[in-house]
Symmetry: C2
């Protein structure tokens, strides 16, 4: 695998999501979700902290020490949404409100920045003398990294420089302290590296030298990590600094012994054999590394990243694209350790997998990375937000006894704004382009306005994705213009039919490509076969032994108690059955259910005993039921749920 | 279920274990295990703590605050062994050494007792002013309860009163502070109640009034527990006391909210719907409650205990008799939650289940409780000690990737002396008697010396249990004497043949009973069918879906990598196969392996992908392998292990 600067996302203003599926979610963000999150940030004191700093207060910080980051992620989500939906007249009121909330909040943030550029309200309010003494646990750069992302997003959406200038001062401050010729240091929770990359993009047109400096610092941070001496290990001797977070100290060094893998400090990426530790951290690190090493011809790093990718996707990823099975470390345990009911599979980790797979998809122009991105996006990440946009999952198990439900907010609130910023920026994930190619990575309905060689081009994708594989792409060229139109062929698609008179299709790296000179309006049609498919797990995934799971297109399906009228544990499925029903607009905000057949064990027919001789078991009763997409579970009557169903 | 004082154990001196299986373990205790545990107690400062108190030191306690209890459990084990093996000439040297170690240690303990009877070296050395302020977390009565058990055992084995007198002073001290007319209090970790019952047995012949007082206090403690106001909940307001154990404070009240079920304080036993919380605590509570409510005609309590028994054995017990699946609370999670690889199934919890089921077996004279006792004894508990007697499991998973091994000792060392005291006192578990009946509860080889109506009787059991179901019981009566000889018919036994000319057998509550007047030497033979049996789990145990497990007689079998020459995850078994091999004295200190057939997935033949369409999977290769008893696993080359095998 080579990492090259190939596909890039278009500015969000140039990609309008017209999709019924995603468009509904984006409008929900504007109407409901972001306002809820803003009010949570206000009510929990997260925003007031900035004003408290400006007022010179001391000791008035409440909550988690990384709470600044939630505000920044909300700003990033809101900014993306302004860019994506700015032209939507129906939402003008909601977007005006959002815009005002953003401006107010940014003003508060700017007022809190220290003269030297430092900005972290926990330290400024509680421990002004303890800055940078506990990089391993205290998330200073993590919070600042989210600030840089928010700054770039707000500038990109509005052109306003207030937050961008705050971000530049933060980045320059950190760069004055840490780097190859300065102190060896980076954050226990990766994120600052991504922030630097986004800041670099934002300032590059006006200040390419600074942009290069930021990218260089990000590259140094991801590459140094894991080398020895470890800055985090050294900090363990600083008793006073360790008191700042006894819980995380114990996670980093249980029993006093440094456990480096939790924060990916066990080995440099170049030497790391597998993806370990806290899953969100691992994804943010690898997303940054993938981007920072584009066009470097660093084959050692490219091989390492590919090795880690294969380890993740071939041994440590749920069918939903959820990752990180354990709640203990919010992360990885071992190859093929993928328990269903206790799956942690944090929403943020699935979002992180979208980030990393997207970076790989951009750097390679290879559809296989989009397959994983799509899997995480439509399943493991999307389940993190309710159909009404007002409640959130932190953990995303693949099986429930009926006791796991979305919450309005969390004390540690990383997930709600993370899924929001992903949905708001969806336009960056569904299409990409090079100098002379436009790539449809996910065939959801959208309208792209771009130009090739100065000639404006509009590309319109029409589809009912993910419910149908029929896709129509219309190119409107104001004058004859040559470019490649590349449309990804999903990995789940057994057969694709294309209908286009203009030119013969080429097939390359998971894309079907139409290279021609476009003029006027031309329309092509594709039909991606979208049959229900039953899956079995690799034999080493012991938790799925004797079980099977259903997908259709990008969607993983599940069985919920409300559809079976009995505990799903009682059901065994016939994996030769699966009949696609008609799209039901009244069900779960519109889904296509799949009817399946199987057998149900009648409660009364089972012996009381926990363990029985096989021949003593009663026969089960045939039953028909239906399955619904996993992302939409827990929206009706509370009850049990399974992705992996028992086979008889 | 009625609780009555029916069967009682005989003094250990009257039951000689001649069994090849258990006799080997008892000799190991004398030769190796107890000496190792003594040295651990010395080297870790556990015994020196008592001398430190006597010297008036302050602040010199090291290790866990409940470390006294390990010393007491070791004394109890050693005392049992002196009683059980005292007449064994070959072991005279080892038992002399043990006897001296016991006397020295007891002298140290006696020297540490405070004038008012209090004894807890952690508080005496570290926090003399903090006594009894944190009953919920600090284990003072827990330690003292083990002291009472040790005191009764040492007195019973040797007739020496030193430790018994210490125990009486401890019990009287506690009784002066806590009780129906005094402070409402009992220990967060149950155990003192059992200690009181054992102390009562020891003093009853000389001081029946005190014995009754101790039983009444024990009964009050088990019955009050769970009532409101909760003494533990009130303590949470005592900030200073809570600092004594921040970890346990967090377990009892995560996020500051009291979580009463951890220590069975959520409801009185009378109202409790299910067995919850820390598994060892739950077993010690229920064992004490069962005994304390014998002959009380308290039908509400009897129903409650039966309800909890059914909940445990029909919904929350591993096939091995292991209980408490979660490491988080060292205890229960939910009905049918029985994961294999992450099974905590603490050795102490299986030992606790032996205690409780034994109390029920004694109180009911019903063989079904012995079935569970036997299951836990031969599997979940016995796995806790290595075949060489020198290493121990704390956790007993039913599946391993090859990374779980017995340890020489633990920082929290409850398990090693617990399994030792169980094996040392085995004579109390295999036979019992009433005024006019002798019950063989487990048909292991032993020699019982007792008397009915003043007439001495010797009953000799000969067998190769658990490898064979053929049992010969010989009664030697010095004069004609009438009594019932009751022999339990194991629940796993499909058919039993009896051969005895003297009298017709009766069958009652899981026993075959021969009621006659015995004279001279009479021999009867029984043959318990002992075929291999394949088991499936209740359909709600999702972790065992598509899997099957093998038992023969009381033993659960497992497959180890060393016998398959490949990861056991690759194997799928044919559950119609199972051929009992000849007993192999050279294998695992002597076992009867079982040959099974199945199929192995060749590593190279599987696709790399985590998830595959079922039709794409390659065929597996037929293979024969053998299974060995679970208790003996992890004694050869390290590798993977499974109890529940995949079915094809």
């Amino acid at each position: 695998m080579r990492l090259q600067r190939r596909l890039r996302s278009l500015p969000l203003q140039q990609v309008q999501i017209t999709d019924r599926f995603w468009g509904r979610y984006q409008r929900l963000l504007a109407a409901t979700t972001l306002d809820i999150q803003y009010r949570q940030c206000v009510e929990t004191g997260r925003i007031e902290h900035f004003r408290s700093v400006a007022r010179g207060e001391q000791g008035t910080f409440k909550g988690r020490y990384f709470n600044d980051s939630d505000v920044y992620k909300w700003i990033e989500a809101g900014s993306f949404l302004l860019a994506a939906l700015g032209s939507d007249a129906e939402l003008a009121g909601a977007l005006d409100r959002l815009s005002g909330q953003l401006d107010d909040t940014i003003e508060a943030i700017a007022s809190a920045q220290a003269p030297d550029g430092y900005l972290d309200t926990f330290f400024q309010l509680q421990h002004p003398d303890m800055r940078w003494r506990n990089l391993g646990a205290m998330h200073e750069m993590y919070c600042m990294g989210h600030l840089l992302e928010a700054a770039a997003a707000h500038f990109g959406a509005t052109g306003k420089r207030t937050l961008l200038d705050v971000g530049i001062r933060v980045a320059d401050h950190v760069a004055s302290l840490f780097g190859p010729d300065r102190r060896k240091g980076y954050c226990g929770h990766e994120e600052f590296e991504i922030g630097l990359l986004r800041l670099a993009d934002a300032v590059r047109p006006s200040d390419p030298d600074s942009a290069d400096r930021y990218v260089d610092l990000a590259r140094w941070m991801v590459d140094e990590r894991g080398s020895r001496p470890s800055p985090f290990e050294a900090e363990l001797q600083d008793e006073e600094a360790m008191k700042l977070s006894p819980w995380l100290r114990n996670m980093l060094a249980p029993g006093g012994v440094y456990k480096a893998d939790y924060c990916q400090d066990h080995a440099r990426i170049r030497e790391a054999p597998e993806v370990v530790g806290h899953a969100v951290r691992a994804m943010y690190l690898l997303a940054a590394a993938t981007e920072a090493f584009e066009d470097r011809d660093d084959t050692e790093m490219e091989s390492a990243i590919e090795r880690l990718w294969l380890d993740l996707t071939q041994k440590r990823m749920y069918l939903t694209g959820g990752i990180g099975p354990s709640g203990h470390n919010e992360g990885f345990v071992a190859d093929y350790h993928l328990p269903n009911r206790t799956a942690y599979a944090e929403t943020c980790a699935a979002v992180g997998l979208v980030f990393w797979s997207h970076r790989l998809a951009q750097a390679t122009f290879d559809g296989e990375y989009v397959d994983v991105m799509e899997r995480a996006l439509y399943n493991g990440a999307l389940a993190g937000i309710s159909l009404a946009g007002d409640r959130f999952f932190y953990e995303n198990p693949l099986e429930s006894a009926g006791d796991h439900h979305r919450q309005a907010w969390f004390d540690c609130a990383c997930c709600p704004p993370n899924i929001a910023r992903l949905i708001a920026s969806l336009g960056a994930y569904v299409v990409g382009r090079t100098e002379d190619a436009l790539a449809i990575q996910i065939p959801c309905a959208c309208r792209v306005e771009t130009a090739f060689g100065g000639t404006p081009v509009r590309v319109t994708v029409e589809s009912e994705f993910p419910w149908s594989g029929e896709v129509r792409v219309t190119v409107d060229a104001s004058a004859p213009v040559s470019f490649e139109l590349a449309i990804r062929i999903p990995g789940w698609c057994g057969d694709v039919e294309t209908e286009f008179d203009g030119v013969e299709a080429e097939y390359r790296d998971g894309y079907v490509i139409f290279a021609t000179t476009w003029s006027g309006r031309q329309t092509l049609r594709l039909d991606f076969e979208m049959e229900p498919r039953w899956w079995v797990s690799h034999f080493q995934v012991l938790d799925n032994c004797g079980r099977t799971a259903l997908t259709r297109g990008p969607l993983v399906y599940c069985l919920e108690e409300v559809d079976l009228a009995s505990s799903v544990a009682r059901f065994a499925v016939d994996p030769t059955s699966a009949e696609v029903e008609a799209f039901d607009g009244g069900l779960l905000e519109g889904v296509t259910p799949i009817r399946v057949e199987g057998w149900i064990d009648q409660p009364g027919a089972w012996p009381d005993e926990l363990y029985s001789a096989e021949e003593d078991l009663p026969a089960a009763t045939p039953v028909r039921t239906r399955m619904v997409p996993y992302y939409a579970w827990d929206a009706r009557a509370a009850g049990s749920m399974q992705v992996w169903l028992r086979r008889p």
